[in-house]
Every structure is written in C-alpha cells, then in structure tokens.
Symmetry: C2
Subunit: 310 residues, 2 copies
C-alpha cells in the first residue's frame, strides 16, 4: 500500500533548485563527517500553501523565525555545525539583530577631503563588532550552511534531502524542527490556475498534509537525535498533544510552547519526563533569550544520549 | 441603508495603536500643509486575513513591498513628502537595499590598540553613502513618515484615518494604493478562537471585503489624485478589469500589471487613454527600476491635473 507521504512526493513536483541544494548539503556534511563535528539541522519560519498556481494568495503559518534563528546562533556557540533551513525572508542568525532600518540607523557618514567613508557610530561598535565577528567566524570556519524554502512542498522536499544527506553522521546528527509547517494544503491538481476572481467569495477546501515525522524517524534518519515542536493556544491540551506526538513517532523530545508566552516559557517533554524552562521577568528585561537555555539543555541531553550508545 | 463598508467598520474592532498613528499623521500633514509640499500616501505590502483569533494561520497576499518601497524613494527624489503605510516586515525605502545579511557582508571589523571599530568595506562605500545620505536627509527634513499594519482590518482602519488626515491638503494629496489588499476575509464572529485542530482538514468560508475605494473617492478624499493598482495573472482580462474599476470608482488612474512581468512593464490606464511603460532588457541589466518611470509619469500627470484646477 502507498502511504500518504509517498503519495505526496509522487504527486508533487520537485523544486527546481533541489539538486543544487543537495550538492551543498552533501559537501557541508562530508566536511563535518571528517572533522567529527556534531551537526544540527535547524528548520525555521512558516511554510506557505498557495491557493493558485500563478500565486497571488496563499495560506501562511505564523512564524517570524525568531526561535530558529536565535537557536542557530546558540548551537554555533556550542560548536555544533548548523544547517539553517529557513523560510525566505524570515529571520536569519546574526542579521536578525538588524531588521528594517536598524543597521542604517547605526551608520554615520563622514567625508574627509571629498572621500566619503561610512562607519558604525561609537555607541554601537561593541554590539555590532561582537555579532559581526561571530558571523564571519561561522562562515570562515564553514560552520553554517543556510538553505531556504517558501512553500510547503519546497519544505517537504528539502527536508527529505537534508535527512538523506545527514544519515552518514548517524547519532551525531540532531534535528531541531522549529519551522511552523502547515497542516493543510491544496493538492496541485485541485488548485486554480489563475488568480481567483475577486468578486466571488471562494470556499477553500484543504487536505491534510502527510506527517513526515513518521518516515523521518523510522526511515530517513533512524539514528539521529530528533526534536519536534508543538505550538498551541489552548494550554489545557498542550502537554497531552506533545505526549501524543512522542507516542506516535517515537522520536527523542518534544518542545511544547504556547503562542502567548513562547518567548518566556517552554516545556521539554520526553517519554517519561517533562521539564519546564522559563525566564524570569528580570532576565527578559536584560534581553536574555530562552533559546540559550533550550540549546544548553539539548546539547547536554544529546551528549548523555550519545554516551548510552557507546 | 447601511453600506457594506459602514457595516465592516461597525463590526470590526479598532486597532489599539490607531490613535497614536492618527496623531503622527496629523502632525506630519500639518507640517507639510504649512510648507505647501505635495504629499503622497504610498500603501505597500500584503494584508493578512487571520483564520483564528489566537492567530496561528492566516491567508496572505503575495507582496514583498518592492513596488511601494521603490516608489516611495522616487517620490522623495521628486520632493513629495511621503506617508509610507506598509505591512510589518515588508520592504521599506532605503533599508530595502540591505535585506538579510547583505549589510553585514559589507562591514569589516578592525582593531587598533584593542579598540574595535566597524566600517563599510571600501568597495561598497559609494553605494551605501549615497543611500544613507538620502535616508538621513528624508528623516531630518521630515519628508518621510512610516506607519505599519499587518492584518486586513488594521489596513482598512489605518487607510481611513490617513485619508481623513489628508483631506486638508485637498488636491495636493496623491494616493498611490500599491498594497495588495485581500479581497476576502472571515468576519470576527465567524472565526475560531483557538488554533484549528490539525487532524481535520477545514473548509474555510470567506466573505467579500467591502471595496473602500468607493467611499475613499466619494467621501474621504474627494479632491485628491487617486491611483489604484490592478494585478492579474491572465493578460486577456487585465485592461478590461482596470477600465471597469475606473468606471466604478471614478478615480484618477489605474496601474495595471501582470504578476509575471510586473518589474518590467505596467500599463497606466485613464478614463480615455492607456500608456504602456516598460524597461528594455538593457535597462533591467543595469539595475534600473520601472518605479522611477511610473513616479515620473505620475508627478507630471498630477501637475497637469493641478493646473486644470487653478
């Protein structure tokens, strides 16, 4: 019998840049396989579900990419090589500190003997130089590979390719699946070709997206340390949903969080345990980010788990 | 009888920051009323239509905000004061040149006697200093006011407030409505409170958004020079749709464009004329932007039209 996810890949066209991304993934992973580095795949940002082939409208999932981009910086800090698989135009590690006009506002223009020069105003030099150094180091040391997607189907194709490339690392690979992936989609053959006319309100009929966490854990990267996320708005169902996912997919951990306070608190749920991480209001005021504590926790858990495999 | 747009405003809660934005609008417009500057309201980016009150999912309209942000720079160049009303995280004038890591990649870190400094690498100095100067000038001379929205209802409330503030400028006000506004929405009272469960595919029933161009032209800014946009993916209906809008709303001009080649060609449609503006492939290669030609055209048309009012 064909499963729902096999049918999805059979019916959904492959993105045109997939071969190129696979080449980048294989090079990056081969380099780190030799170096014996641990590698984490961080997925980040929401996926879109187009309503038309010539897409004007789409259903999107709420995600700016904060969780993923902040976590990627923290994994680099802990000497993991990072594959940052992100939604186009969502936040990226390092540049996330300077969205919109924030970096322009920190620059000043001076002219000496008709020669213009542009530099960072003294008050921001320390902050920027610190971020800039980490950014350049991660690129120079080949510790960060960024690959991007927009639609749900691009995401699903790219995720499978990334997993296939990661297999060689066995249990040194971590998957940190923070992207907000749509649960629903419109199959390619049921989609309108042109922009839906704007004078008649449409009813949009959506299909369930196959849960690729199942083949991912069972078939694609059976030896990897896999963390998924569960976001809810109703607290009463959060932990039971997280436990349900662990039972169903048998992966390592679920990070459960509420939309309303996801920057301050998460619950890390395992098969027989749950641990709450939270920031105090003082820590929040000081600009601390909960992702540092999440990543610290996961790095330790990954280490303990690797020790049990020896 | 209550019209559809009156009903929309009656039933849709006012955004919490609207009063503050109205204050900014009134100050900016009072300043330029005294200075006798022409003022253009540029709307830019897409609107979201939430599917849930605690929003995880929403329908979005394709728009990065390129048309609006590039046009805003060109209006500033032509000495218009610009109210830039944009979707949060869409492109903004000036900073649009440096999305993602592009500005970080242009910076270099040097340390002299343990004191770090950060400056723009010489090869980019000319480009950045030019943009930076225009950006700082527009702020220092109070020529640019940026206000933002995310959802469809925030957009509609903000647009009405901006129009009410612009009334005093009479025909010196131009409206350049480049935002990609959703045609459909889910009324507040029909929306799910919490995240729609992800195990049952929903059917989403959408309602038509009231066409506010009608009260805008007739009631809110009856003396202003109003330009709307028409985006299609099917060329055979493009011009007839543009003419239909002009007949229905009796505003000044429609800029008709195809999704597929909107960066290279637009047709500016008036009641009894149509003019195609396009870039040659050479101009495109040289990095020219069609918005310069659109804005030049509109500035002349606005001037001619003002002359007829004398």
């Amino acid at each position: 019998m064909t499963t729902a996810w096999e049918e999805f890949y059979a019916k959904t066209p492959k993105p045109s840049n997939l071969d190129e991304n696979e080449k980048l993934l294989n090079q990056f992973i081969a380099f780190h396989a030799k170096e014996n580095t641990k590698v984490v795949l961080v997925t980040s940002g929401g996926t879109t579900v187009p309503l038309e082939h010539n897409t004007v409208r789409f259903v999107d999932n709420f995600s700016a990419g904060s969780r993923g981009s902040i976590s990627a910086e923290n994994f680099l800090q802990r000497h993991y090589a990072v594959i940052f698989m992100y939604r186009v135009k969502s936040l990226e590690p390092f540049s996330r500190h300077f969205v919109g006009s924030r970096l322009l506002d920190m620059l000043e223009l001076t002219t000496t003997n008709d020669t213009p020069s542009v530099s960072v105003t003294p008050q921001y030099v320390n902050k920027i130089s610190d971020i800039l150094k980490k950014y350049k180091d991660s690129l120079n040391q080949n510790m960060l590979l960024s690959i991007s997607f927009t639609t749900l189907s691009e995401y699903l194709w790219l995720l499978r390719s990334a997993c296939q490339a990661l297999t060689v690392l066995e249990n040194r690979a971590m998957l940190y699946l923070a992207a907000a992936v749509s649960d629903f989609y419109i199959p390619s053959n049921e989609m309108a070709t042109h922009k839906i006319p704007s004078d008649e309100p449409p009813s949009v009929h959506l299909k369930l997206v196959p849960k690729v966490l199942e083949p991912l854990v069972k078939l694609w990267v059976p030896k990897a340390f896999v963390i998924s996320f569960k976001l809810e708005t109703d607290e009463s169902i959060l932990i039971s949903k997280a436990r349900g996912a662990l039972r169903k997919y048998s992966h390592s951990l679920v990070i459960a969080n509420m939309l309303q306070n996801r920057r301050e608190q998460v619950v890390i749920v395992s098969k027989d345990n749950q641990e709450t991480l939270s920031l105090t209001s003082k820590q929040l005021q000081n600009g601390e980010e909960i992702e540092k504590y999440i990543v610290d926790y996961l790095v330790e858990k990954h280490k303990d788990w690797l020790d049990t495999k020896l």
